[in-house]
Symmetry: C2
Subunit: 228 residues, 2 copies
């Protein structure tokens, strides 16, 4: 799979790259400990051991830091997709493997993501996973689900196939949202939800070929096309 | 339908009731204009023309004001349910009528609900529609969907019937959330979503009787029972 990546316009020096990483790590630690809204650029700079001006040189705002976090986790996931899906043929297994892979880089930052979601939950927020600013990441993520479908053992009717990657991406967002708010020990409720709901979804996809479900497929496609 | 209502322990005097209503109205106006987090009890008291201490006498916190708002809109809706459903037999019409009824009292407060959702989106918030503090309202709201189902022309298989009111309530919450964030003129996208998705849902319910869908029904029930 070839996926377009966001490439810095100027190749940073190793020293600059190291400083940038230190600021990013310091910011994530603070976001996780105190919450996104409660952390200032000044706190971040202090925690990273750089001057506030230097922090602003690397990241014009806290939002830019979050966007960098989105990109880093996305690129990391993107690089692992093929490896993770390899050898799994059944669709349920592929979807689950993909969502588990996507959750991995978020695990250390569950509290932070909860605090972030309070503002990014609004699709008008620049940090919303549904907004214009995150379109490129979203489209590439949807592409991962297209890959999961293509390599699987399930034949999807063409009218549904076109929209299914979007639907699976939405489903994944629902799982992540549930996980952010899941207070069960080690988030075992999310695990159970992922297991049972992926099972259900793959059953629906398999049944969608049957004649009796044709009107339903039509209604799903109609709904999606009128909204997207 | 008889629905338990929250009754004030001491019958307020007309004067006290009038003051309470004035504080509530002033608070909702400010929440709508400035946002929930940005409004203080002092602002509310000033806007209502009462002393800050008096405002606290009626409502111990901003959260208590929001809870009163939840109850008022709920009681208002509750009183209108039977009248609104009367004469509609088809399930799609009943579900739509019910959700439209539920949206009505929220319409003047869309901005406020958006700002509220930023904190109430977390199920641990006392103001979350999914939390312990709002259980009574939630259960009665779910009862409205039970009524919509019972009086309709659709036969629901018993295993699904048990959970369907909960599912329809969840669906309604999804519509409300979409509506809060819907920036289309007069929220016409929400209208379209409600129209098409209620259509889809009723189709699914009607098809659920077919043999081919039996394993699916089992998977839905299994998912719900493991989570609820």
């Amino acid at each position: 799979m070839t996926t377009k990546r966001q490439v810095p316009r100027v190749r940073p020096t190793p020293k600059a790259e190291e400083t940038r990483r230190r600021i990013l790590a310091a910011a994530l630690d603070l976001f996780q400990e105190r919450g996104f809204a409660e952390t200032t650029m000044r706190d971040i700079a202090r925690n990273a051991g750089v001057a506030t001006g230097a922090a602003y040189y690397y990241f014009p705002s806290k939002e830019a830091i979050v966007m960098a976090f989105y990109w880093e986790t996305h690129v990391e996931t993107d690089a692992a997709v093929e490896r993770r899906l390899k050898g799994i043929r059944d669709l349920r297994g592929r979807v689950r493997a993909l969502i588990e892979l996507k959750l991995e880089p978020f695990r250390p930052y569950r509290e932070f993501l909860g605090s972030l979601f309070r503002s990014a939950g609004d699709p008008a927020s620049p940090l919303s996973p549904f907004g214009e600013e995150t379109r490129e990441i979203r489209e590439q993520s949807i592409g991962h689900f297209r890959r999961a479908l293509e390599g699987s053992d399930v034949q999807v009717p063409p009218d549904l196939a076109e929209h299914l990657p979007d639907l699976l991406w939405l489903y994944q967002m629902g799982i992540i949202l549930f996980w952010i708010h899941d207070r069960s020990a080690r988030q075992t409720r999310t695990e159970r939800l992922l297991e049972k709901s992926s099972d259900l979804i793959v059953k629906v996809i398999k049944l969608s070929r049957f004649r009796v479900l044709k009107p339903l497929r039509g209604a799903v496609v109609d709904l999606l096309e009128s909204l997207l």
